[in-house]
């Protein structure tokens, strides 16, 4: 299904684990070091220099852009590294996170509490995903280089709903279908 940003609470209620979505609109990038700074700033000041309330964060650190291109290669990075920072950001008002891989049970609990949603894009498809980005500009922490927060304008950015507000978990559901060997 196609969705436009901002993703309102009404839209979040319609998203179910396993849905494939194509996002058009504004998303923000951020990974390890930017998360560390955002959480430190929120602890001290309760607000960020650029509001991310109701917004989408995409966990990515792109390669430098070629001339005449908005961005370089830009696939998702592993999300579990941001689990440690998720609670204060969800409490602040962040709504949607896009990354890759599974996340901790503690994260899922907080995400549901704050009615957020977690999506995955295809890891390692950075060249392909860069075609979905039409514009990019740094909005925060420029000194972090590839780890700075960029505002991206995307068109039909593909992602799969992984954890929804109802406790749906696409990873558990799908893996179960094909797993024939159990591990401890």
């Amino acid at each position: 299904m196609k969705i436009k940003t901002p993703i309102t609470d009404d839209v979040i209620k319609t998203l179910r684990a396993g849905n494939i979505v194509y996002i058009t609109g504004t998303i923000f990038t951020g990974r390890d070091q930017a998360h560390k700074r955002m959480v430190e700033t929120l602890e001290k000041e309760g607000e960020l220099p650029h509001s991310l309330r109701g917004e989408i964060i995409y966990y990515v650190g792109p390669t430098p852009a070629k001339e005449n291109r908005p961005i370089g290669s830009c696939g998702p990075t592993s999300s579990y590294r941001m689990d440690a920072y998720a609670k204060p950001l969800l409490a602040y008002g962040l709504k949607v996170m896009i990354g890759k891989g599974d996340r901790s049970d503690a994260f899922i609990k907080e995400m549901i509490k704050y009615q957020g949603v977690y999506l995955q894009a295809v890891g390692g498809a950075g060249a392909l995903l860069s075609r979905k980005v039409k514009k990019s500009e740094v909005v925060l922490y420029e000194d972090l280089g590839a780890e700075a927060i960029y505002k991206l304008e995307v068109e039909d950015f593909p992602a799969i709903v992984t954890y929804d507000i109802y406790g749906g978990n696409m990873i558990v559901d799908e893996v179960k279908k094909y797993q024939t060997i159990k591990v401890d």
């Binding site: 070091q33 990515v60 650190g61 792109p62 390669t63 430098p64 852009a65 070629k66 370089g72 290669s73 830009c74 696939g75 990075t77 592993s78 579990y80 890759k100 891989g101 599974d102 995955q120 295809v122 890891g123 390692g124 498809a125 950075g126 060249a127 392909l128 995903l129 860069s130 075609r131 280089g145 590839a146 593909p158 799969i160 696409m170 990873i171 559901d173 799908e174 893996v175 179960k176 279908k177 094909y178 797993q179 024939t180 060997i181 591990v183 401890d184």
Partner: protein, 279 residues
């Protein structure tokens, strides 16, 4: 004695780093196409299709297939009869520096493990040098991504753990890594040696030709059994579920202490990038 200008080393490293990041190679794409035919999950198929399309875009446009252009690992086999007119390590790092600047590749090296920061030029590379007979230099270079490296490990098993202990450890590691190391994977396993030797064996294993045949019959059977078992875990392409979790398992071994059974597992993501050249 053959005199070699270190600038030749720098140029070769630069060429290999640029090529590795944008050109995964036809044989790897063929492996992905084979996997696509066999994949049972529709979502899994869609993921493999996106990976193939991505790798083709990267090759056509000479741009990095993945934004994680890696920490550079370089294996050098240096002939005894080569004389270099400068420092080998400096020459390699200079090649990395030039490639990452010219190729608009991401600088992914933190200055310090605790205070972080960034070295700004993707150096230093991790360099392994082996002395060999002759007057040639073989350079094998791999930009290694952080996602799959983070899911890798060394575990000191004991002899009584045996083959079953090894299998259990590998399956457990890959199942719980899920999508984080970006499957479909190439699984490199180092058996024996000691702590650091096993890790090096595992790293060398992921550089092997995917179609080569292990000359050791015990290891060959273990490679086949593990590949089959790994693909029954259900993890699938990018951990989205499916029957393609690994494309190959490669095991290298070495004698070890009578008390030990070191096992290293080095996971390689589907952006399996390594290139080599002999000069």
């Amino acid at each position: 004695m053959r005199n070699v200008d270190v600038r030749l080393i720098t140029e070769t490293v630069k060429e290999l780093a640029l090529d590795a990041n944008s050109n995964i190679g036809k044989s790897f794409i063929d492996k992905l196409r084979e996997a696509l035919k066999k994949e049972k999950s529709e979502i899994g198929k869609n993921v493999i299709e996106q990976i193939i399309e991505n790798d083709e875009i990267a090759l056509e446009n000479n741009e990095p297939m993945c934004q994680d252009t890696g920490l550079v690992v370089v294996f050098v086999e240096l002939g005894y009869d080569v004389h270099l007119n400068g420092d080998l390590y400096d020459a390699i790092n200079q090649g990395v520096r030039e490639a990452y600047e010219a190729g608009l590749l991401r600088k992914s090296v933190a200055k310090h493990p605790i205070s972080r920061g960034n070295t700004g030029d993707n150096t230093p590379a991790i360099i392994h040098v082996k002395l060999v007979p002759g007057d040639q230099i073989r350079i094998l270079l791999a930009p290694k991504g952080g996602g799959s490296e983070n899911m890798s490990l060394v575990k000191m098993l004991v002899p009584s753990d045996g083959i079953e202990g090894i299998k259990k450890l590998v399956l457990h590691t890959i199942f719980y890594a899920g999508g984080k190391p970006c499957p479909p994977l190439v699984v490199g396993i180092g058996l024996g040696g000691n702590l650091e030797k096993s890790a090096l064996l595992a790293k060398e294993a992921i550089m092997r030709d995917l179609d080569d045949i292990n000359p050791d019959p015990i290891l060959r059977k273990l490679e086949e059994d593990l590949l089959s078992d790994i693909n029954e875990l259900g993890v699938g392409p990018m951990g989205f579920g499916g029957s393609t979790t690994a494309l190959a398992v490669k095991i290298n071994s070495y004698p070890c202490h009578i008390a030990s059974l070191p096992v290293a597992i080095n996971l390689q993501c589907h952006a399996s990038r390594h290139k080599e050249k002999t000069i």
